[in-house]
Point group: D3
């Protein structure tokens, strides 16, 4: 059984691989390679698997889950430029895939109870990445 | 292969554990412990796994699925107070987790064809619980 | 020109007119008349008309708008039973129409800058009321 | 790890089994059996499982995924009548289940990289079918 | 003050002007001119302006509004082909604009109380037409 | 009568008034003043008022509307940093209000037929600005 809470943050990013030529970058990344970046309203679904406590009816208290996600994700990524303000994407691109992987790594060992079962990260209404163990 | 139909109901509920002090209840449940309760527009996703009938193209006729869900869930929970009008949550709280578990137990043996594969219950746009076998 | 911010709250309510018979109440209100009430995830759109400050680019600072709406609406209605916990609906029913009217009256004289131009209150995805001057 | 992109198309369809009587068709399919059909805004979620390329940050370039889905699905189904304009549903009905199966079969061998992990097809906001290996 | 209720129906349609050549039809309508048509999940917002009854809290009883919309719109358009099954679009095309106009004309004189203030018709998530007096 | 089409673009921005101190900027703009900016998935609703052509059923051909919006808005703002890549916000901030005003000014004289009646710009699901004549 899983409980899932959604979180939101806004961030900007850019895709550009310094090891490739400008023409190769354009072919790979198109307008995502513009020098000053662009941004998104990200939506993050965090799913926790666990036992329902019979007296509280909860797998995890949502306040505790929010505390962890705020500390590990929102305070680092929200209103930030993911290339310039965050260390997590050195040597790669802050694609939906890589942002999801970074969030998974930040959260997986931090659950106060239960276990992280799945995260889903929406970059916009048409695109999401999913990580599970 | 799964077919999933969404159903909606509106209900009110309250979280309060009589075995705990008022202060403990407030610490655990916050405003969910207010004495007169509050409510939600619940959305229920019911997923059925099965074989597609080659002539009808269906795993299950959606009219038959609706009949079961109406009888087992909607007629019991819709426009109701989950603590006061329903027996399913005695000794626990009607949290998203526990409402999902109760719905699973009500539906799992009642599929006229196929098998119940997953239910997902949304309490609001930001929170859902998921049960599967 | 208008700027509109959405706010959310969860509340329960019941429709019952003591001056009418139980049968008349049922005919008028159907399951909304069940004694213990039910509830909704309300969404409130608050629209402010005004002049855009040329240096801040804002009609109203959204933090100031949030402060007013929290104080006048959210702290009174959120996680509450609108019949039992709030005085605003004595002698009438907390329908979408009446809740919208009550919110309009609470907010209209409280804008720190600009003027309240329109409120829209959604009871669920299929129903909303709208008040304007 | 999965990356999922959503695609949209509009199509019309009709459910009618020539081997059954008109009365049986009505009992089975109701208004879906009207002779001239009706239609939907379909939403298709295509999920690809694979390895994230460390320099591009991508499982699959979304432009390449879009090329395949356009060629195999959108150009065949979009703005079309699924019974009259498409061969995929001879002898069965273009139900959500069968359209999802047909899309799966069209896409499964065509991924330029990674593997097709799941498709989800929404017929409207309340109904979807899901296929996975 | 306005109360607005949403209604849904699914229908198919085709755009083709017999007075124009095939090439002109293609230039004007593109894939909307395919001979067998396509379809949509329409969403209709019906807004009624009126006085709130002080004892019921309602501008109009939503059951009465639903009865009128079912009779005038849903029973005629739902699961239908708007060109072939409905008389309302002879000599024109069932565009979002024209379907909205036809619905307005069907509903405007039929409100049991209050007055029709606005209708908004969504053809999909990206397109809507609006009619008001 | 109005027809409205939605358009989407992704952009980044920052709020910072050089004429104010860092502390004043923080007090006014909070995390929106971070030096490297952040971003959003913007949704733009463009409403055109006009006469429905009786043979085409259209106020404006949506292809023509799309051409104008692409040229005036999408090609300038999409995947761009609104402070660094666009001239429209010199001396002010690219707030939802100011971006809406800039879009209005770009579009108002460019309608090939009918007249621009209203634009609504969503910065995220909880905030929008509206401009009308």
């Amino acid at each position: 059984m899983l409980i899932t809470r959604l979180f939101k943050f806004s961030a900007s990013h850019r895709y550009y691989d310094e090891a490739r030529s400008p023409a190769e970058n354009w072919a790979l990344f198109g307008p995502c390679s513009y020098p000053n970046g662009h941004g998104h309203n990200y939506v993050l679904e965090v799913s926790v698997r666990g036992i329902v406590d019979p007296t509280t009816g909860m797998i995890i208290n949502l306040k505790d889950l929010k505390t962890v996600v705020d500390q590990e994700v929102t305070q680092r990524y929200d209103h930030r430029h993911l290339n310039l303000d965050v260390d997590d994407f050195a040597g790669t691109q802050p694609t939906t895939e890589q942002v999801a992987v970074a969030i998974w790594q930040r959260l997986v060992a931090k659950m106060p109870i239960g276990e992280l079962a799945r995260i889903r990260l929406w970059e916009n209404d048409d695109l999401y990445a999913e990580v599970s163990p």
